[in-house]
C-alpha cells in the first residue's frame, strides 16, 4: 500500500514538473515558428506591432545577476571565512543560525525597502536623475542572496577536514597562508557551487527586481562593454513576466507564445546555473 502510494506521489512530482516544461514549450511554439532564433537576437519588444525580441531582457537579466553575484560573492566569502575560521563554538553557531534566519526574509519586503530606501540612496550616491536602475536591482539582489551565499560557502569551508588545516599549519604556514593555500583550494568546488546556486536564485527573483528596475523595454548599450546601462532603467525576463503583459497576452497566441517563450528561456538559464552547481557538490573530490 505505502509502496504503491509512494510511487504514485513521486510520479505526481515528476508529472507536475514535466508538465510545466511541456506547457512552456507547447505554448511558446507560435513564437518559435514565427521568430525562430531571431527571438533571441531581435532588439525590439513592442507587442502592439507584434515585434518580439528578447535581447534587451536577456541583457538586463545577465547584467543584474552578474552585478548581484559580483557584489555578494566577495562579501559572502569573507563572511564565510570569518564564521568558519575565526569564530568558534557558540559564536559560530549563533552567526550561522542568524544567517539562515535572515535568508527567509520574503522578497516582497526587500522590494518595499528597495522602492522606498535604496532607490533614493542610489540616486543621491551616483548623482543620477532616477533611482530605477539595473544597479539598484543588482544591489538589492546582492543583499537578498547574501545569506544563502554565506550559508552555503560556510558549509563548503566546514566540509574541509581539520587535518588539512593541521597539515599545512604543521609545516609552518601561518593561519592566513593555510586559508589561502589549503582551505580555499580544497573547498573550491563547494564555493563555486554555492556561487552558482546563488546565481540561480538571482536569475529567477521576480518581485524585488520588478519594483526597482524601472521596467524600461528595449534598452541596449551602443557598445557591448559600455557601463552606462547600469545606471539606467532596464528590463529583465522576470520583471516582464511579473508585469501586466501576462494578462494582456493571454488569448493572443503570438503574444502569449512570446511570454511563454521568455519564461522558457528564463527557466533554462536558471536551471543550467543550478544543475551545474548541484553536480559540482555531488562530485566534490574524495577526501
Amino acid at each position: 500500500m505505502i509502496r504503491k502510494a509512494s510511487f504514485f506521489f513521486s510520479f505526481l512530482c515528476l508529472i507536475f514538473f514535466s508538465a510545466i516544461v511541456i506547457f512552456l514549450f507547447t505554448e511558446s511554439l507560435p513564437i518559435w515558428k514565427s521568430e525562430g532564433a531571431s527571438f533571441f537576437s531581435r532588439k525590439l519588444w513592442y507587442y502592439r506591432n507584434e515585434s518580439f525580441g528578447l535581447l534587451a531582457m536577456v541583457f538586463g537579466t545577465v547584467w543584474v545577476s552578474i552585478l548581484a553575484l559580483g557584489i555578494a560573492a566577495p562579501i559572502g566569502l569573507g563572511t564565510a571565512i570569518y564564521i568558519s575560521e575565526y569564530s568558534g563554538g557558540k559564536a559560530r553557531l549563533f552567526l550561522k543560525v542568524l544567517v539562515e534566519l535572515l535568508a527567509g526574509v520574503p522578497s516582497v519586503v526587500y522590494g518595499l525597502l528597495g522602492v522606498l530606501v535604496l532607490r533614493g540612496w542610489i540616486r543621491q550616491t551616483f548623482s543620477l536623475q532616477s533611482g530605477d536602475t539595473l544597479l539598484t536591482a543588482g544591489i538589492l539582489l546582492a543583499i537578498m542572496i547574501l545569506p544563502t551565499l554565506v550559508s552555503l560557502s560556510e558549509d563548503a569551508l566546514q566540509g574541509v577536514p581539520r587535518r588539512y588545516r593541521e597539515a599545512s599549519r604543521a609545516m609552518g604556514l601561518t593561519k592566513v597562508q593555510a586559508i589561502i593555500y589549503t582551505l580555499l583550494p580544497s573547498a573550491k568546488t563547494g564555493l563555486i557551487s554555492s556561487g552558482l546556486l546563488a546565481l540561480g536564485r538571482a536569475l529567477g527573483e521576480t518581485i524585488a527586481v520588478f519594483l526597482v528596475i524601472g521596467r524600461a523595454d528595449n534598452r541596449l548599450p551602443k557598445t557591448l562593454f559600455s557601463l552606462k546601462p547600469l545606471v539606467e532603467a532596464g528590463q529583465t525576463l522576470t520583471s516582464k513576466l511579473g508585469g501586466s503583459e501576462v494578462n494582456l497576452a493571454y488569448g493572443d497566441p503570438l503574444h502569449w507564445g512570446a511570454i511563454c517563450g521568455a519564461a522558457l528561456v528564463l527557466l533554462s538559464m536558471a536551471l543550467v546555473a543550478y544543475i551545474i552547481g548541484e553536480l559540482l557538490i555531488f562530485q566534490a573530490p574524495e577526501r
Binding site: R163, Y164, E166, S168, R169, M171, Q177, Y181, P185, K188
Partner: protein, 255 residues
C-alpha cells in the same frame, strides 16, 4: 643539559578548560633515533605530539603547561616563533593529507611558502624528497598528474615527502600507518629506519610489533583516574641497536 639530547620535555601537562587530560610528562629524545609513544586511544598521545610543534594552538580550548626544550629554546614559550619551529619539526598524520593539484605541487607545497627564495633549487628538492620518501621511482614520469590518483600508501609517502622537502630536523608521526595495508606499512616502516640517518622521528602508534621492529625507545601511556599518565621509559636500545626485536621484546612483556 646533556649535549646529546635534541628535545627535552619537562613536566608537560595538558588541560581542556578546567579538566586535566594528561598528567605531567618528562622525557628526552636523542638525535637520530625513532622514539615511540604507545597506549590506549584517547589517552593523549596525539595531543602530546601536537604540543611539540605547538599545533595545539589550533584548538583554543586546550592549555599546555610545562616546558619543551629544543636548541636552547622553550617551544611552549609565548615568544617562540611558531612558524620557524614547525618548519624544523615536521608532522605526518594518520590519514594522508593530499592538497588539490599535482604531485609536484604537493611536494613543494610547504617549501614554496616557507622558503620561496630557494626557487631555483626546487627541482632538486623535489627529486631528493621523493627519493628519500621512496616514491621517486613510482612517480618520476608523472609529476604533473593529480595527486589524488595515487594509492593510499603512495599518498602517505607523498605526505612524508612534502614534510621532508622542508628539511626538518624532527618528524612527528601520528599513527602514520594505521590507515594502510600491511604491504604499504612495511614499505613505510623501512622508510622510517632509513630516515633515521638524517632525522629524528617521534612516532605515535598502536602497533606493538611496529615499536618492537623499528623503534629505539618507547614510552607507554595508561589511564589513571580518567587522566592520561606516562609510565616510565621502557626501553632505550640506543643507536647501536642492531636487532631491536630481540632486545626490546622481553622488557615490554614485563609491563
Amino acid at each position: 643539559m646533556n649535549n646529546n639530547v635534541l628535545i627535552s620535555l619537562r613536566n608537560v601537562s595538558v588541560f581542556a578548560k578546567k579538566k586535566q587530560l594528561l598528567s605531567p610528562v618528562s622525557f628526552d629524545v636523542v638525535p637520530n633515533t625513532i622514539h615511540s609513544l604507545m597506549g590506549p586511544s584517547g589517552v593523549g598521545k596525539s595531543t602530546l605530539l601536537k604540543c611539540i610543534n605547538r599545533l595545539t594552538d589550533l584548538q583554543p580550548e586546550l592549555r599546555v603547561e610545562g616546558e619543551i626544550w629544543y636548541r636552547n629554546k622553550n617551544i611552549l614559550s609565548p615568544r617562540t616563533n611558531v612558524e620557524n619551529i614547525r618548519k624544523k619539526i615536521g608532522m605526518v598524520f594518520q590519514a594522508p593529507v593530499i592538497f588539490p593539484g599535482s604531485i609536484e605541487k604537493n611536494v613543494l607545497f610547504g617549501i614554496k611558502r616557507m622558503a620561496p627564495e630557494k626557487k631555483k633549487d626546487f627541482p632538486e628538492i623535489l627529486e631528493m624528497s621523493l627519493r628519500e620518501a621512496a616514491l621517486w621511482d613510482e612517480v618520476k614520469d608523472r609529476l604533473k598528474d593529480r595527486a589524488h590518483l595515487l594509492s593510499v600508501g603512495q599518498k602517505q609517502r607523498l605526505s612524508i615527502a612534502r614534510v621532508l622537502a622542508l628539511r626538518p630536523e624532527i618528524i612527528l608521526l601520528d599513527e602514520p600507518t594505521s590507515a594502510l595495508d600491511p604491504r604499504s606499512t612495511e614499505l613505510i616502516e623501512n622508510l622510517f629506519v632509513s630516515l633515521k640517518k638524517a632525522h629524528t622521528l617521534i612516532l605515535v602508534t598502536h602497533d606493538k610489533s611496529q615499536t618492537e621492529g623499528i623503534c629505539d625507545s618507547c614510552i607507554e601511556f595508561t589511564w589513571e583516574n580518567g587522566v592520561g599518565k606516562m609510565n616510565e621509559i621502557q626501553a632505550a636500545c640506543g643507536t647501536s641497536c642492531e636487532e631491536p626485536t630481540l632486545t626490546l621484546a622481553p622488557k615490554l612483556e614485563t609491563i
